[in-house]
């Protein structure tokens, strides 16, 4: 036993030394999305010093990387469509075959995904849904419709927080109108623009990082939010209900990607392998309350997660849809609509 632990430690030290000389890892991550203890565990296991910066939307992360921070970070955690965009932009490094020893732990349904065929740049982190939650003290009516956001009842008007996330807001608005994402039909785009312009009148604020707090503090009576974040808000005392609307909702998967020009590439690989261990990624799931894309996590998960209303779409709700990646011409119209919305 003793010998084994000595050997184990030696192997670890050797691995850490062989892997990287200066023992650092720089993570660019969403806010409030990884438990501090897990980072500390990685630091002690691999003798690596971790620094982490946070962002609050896929688009903001992309903007920051393109504004000069590429080459400073090793890994980032973009959502599905953003992985595809970043790969197209050449911001991602390729993970060689066999480089990740825990690659086999990825659940088969998340292995060959459309946004990263063959998982060349990314591994699954968490997946979940985006719709909205309503404070049941403020509004008792039917909430299974996206009208709650885009054509709200009087009780909620002026008390709604929207996520500051272009991709998800536009996708949900498209679902509300029943039009396809990345539509290039002019009438549909005009209707989308009009919907957001009238909706804006009824919204109090835009913000992703504030989404939970405004519901807990009562500053907002309803808010667009991610399912796990809503569960955390409920756990913090907000009497809110997360909706799976008839029109459908947004499904997403966040992924750990290997960034181009990563200063500590070897440690980034170690970190990705670390997050593919069921016990470790389960700790993230227990903290963030979404779902992992790794096999064998169930024994490490809190029991409450399985039955949580936020994690279980009700019968008869609309289908979930990923945010689509549009071509440049169409995207520029969408950008224009978003700019008009926000200015």
């Amino acid at each position: 036993m003793k010998l084994r632990s000595i050997l184990g430690t030696t192997a670890l030290v050797l691995a850490a030394n062989a892997a990287n000389a200066d023992g650092k890892l720089s993570i660019y991550h969403w806010f409030e999305y990884i438990p501090q203890e897990l980072i500390e565990k990685f630091e002690t296991e691999h003798n690596v010093e971790v620094t982490m910066d946070t962002y609050d939307s896929n688009e903001a992360m992309l903007a920051s990387l393109k504004a000069g921070t590429l080459g400073s970070y090793d890994v980032a955690v973009p959502g599905d469509y953003m992985v595809q965009i970043m790969a197209n932009e050449g911001l991602l490094d390729t993970i060689a075959e066999g480089e990740l020893s825990n690659f086999g732990n990825i659940e088969s349904q998340w292995l060959d995904v459309a946004f990263d065929p063959g998982r060349k740049h990314s591994i699954p982190y968490q997946w979940g849904s985006t719709s909205f939650s309503v404070n049941r003290d403020m509004y008792a009516g039917d909430i299974n419709t996206t009208s709650i956001l885009f054509d709200p009842p009087a009780e909620l008007a002026g008390k709604i927080n929207m996520l500051d996330s272009q991709g998800e807001v536009m996708a949900l608005a498209s679902l509300h109108l029943g039009i396809p994402q990345c539509s290039n039909d002019r009438d549909q785009l005009k209707a989308l623009d009009a919907l957001l312009q009238t909706g804006k009148e009824k919204w109090a604020s835009f913000g992703s990082d504030i989404a939970k707090d405004v519901l807990v503090s009562g500053d907002a009576a309803a808010g667009m939010i991610y399912n796990g974040f809503s569960a955390k808000a409920r756990a913090e005392g907000a009497n809110i209900e997360y909706a799976y609307p008839d029109e459908g909702y947004v499904v997403w998967m966040d992924n750990v990607v290997l960034l181009k020009d990563a200063p500590n590439r070897a440690n980034a690989i170690l970190f990705m392998d670390f997050l593919l261990e069921p016990e470790n990624i389960a700790a993230v799931t227990n903290y963030a309350q979404y779902a992992a894309g790794v096999t064998g996590v169930s024994e490490f998960l809190d029991e409450a997660l399985a039955t949580m209303p936020e994690n279980n779409p009700r019968d008869g709700s609309g289908a979930g849809a990923f945010v689509a990646v549009c071509d440049q011409a169409t995207q520029e119209v969408y950008d224009q609509i978003w700019t008009r919305l926000r200015s």
Partner: protein, 305 residues
Amino acid sequence: MAAGTGSGKTISATFSPVRHWLLMPSWLVIGFFLLIPVVLMLIYSFLTKEFRGGVIWDFSLAAYDQFIFDRGLFGDDPPRIEWAYISIFLRSIGQAMGATVLCLLIGFPTAYFIATRPAKTRAIWLFLVTIPYWVNLLIRTVSMKFLIRDNGPLNEAMLGLGLIDAPLQLINTNFAVQLGLFYSYLPFMVLPIYASVERYNFAFSEAAADLYAPKWTILRRIVLPIVKPGIIAGCILVFVPSLGAFLAPDLLGGAKTFMIGSLIEEQFKGNAGNWPFGAAASMILLSMVLIVLMFYARAQSRDQT
């Protein structure tokens, strides 16, 4: 700034043989790290935007075109005047002017009152007004946000006193932004006015009073014109930073109503990713500020002659 101007002019040339060496570091540092960047920003505003952030080094007027003209969602409508950005600028100017007027209304009487205290208590009053200026602006804005929340202390207090029946919606409104700007820059108004009033010779007021001029007339016709430079300096110190403010609209306005600062930030840090447009908006803001400052400089040199 407490300028101890001492007695008379002290023009001296003791160090004139080495003055270039003495001035060189400031020229180099500011020239290299601010003047060149501003020129570069001007160049960027005439470049072509790269899809999803960054620039392509091709000359283009697209950024200014986008600012002024609305060519519809698809870019092929006949151009009309685009009001979205102009109204952001007008709104920002309005907010900044509102903040300046509010600051002046509160700041002038305060500065005058302090300047007319006896020397001993004057220092204490001044000290009290100065402290908030030294406190981190972010902390002051956050404190204001906390105070005016829907369930915050201000609403609770007013409910408790029976002044209102339901909590006032203050946060995430234009009024909150206005209040935040006013609160942020109030000390900037008090200090220069104080400096002017302190130097004011009250013999003028006394002479006017001897001629039976009513008190408020003395204030309006004699004191105000003489301390005008201090008032103008205070107005500029409030107006200019209010115009490009970022924290107040972001934290108090719910990031919903854009002001110039948030519009520019969005181009570099947010969803928009349009660098040339951000550079153009910055250039327009900078030109507006420089125009205000030029008027100020002209007014000042006129006053001195």
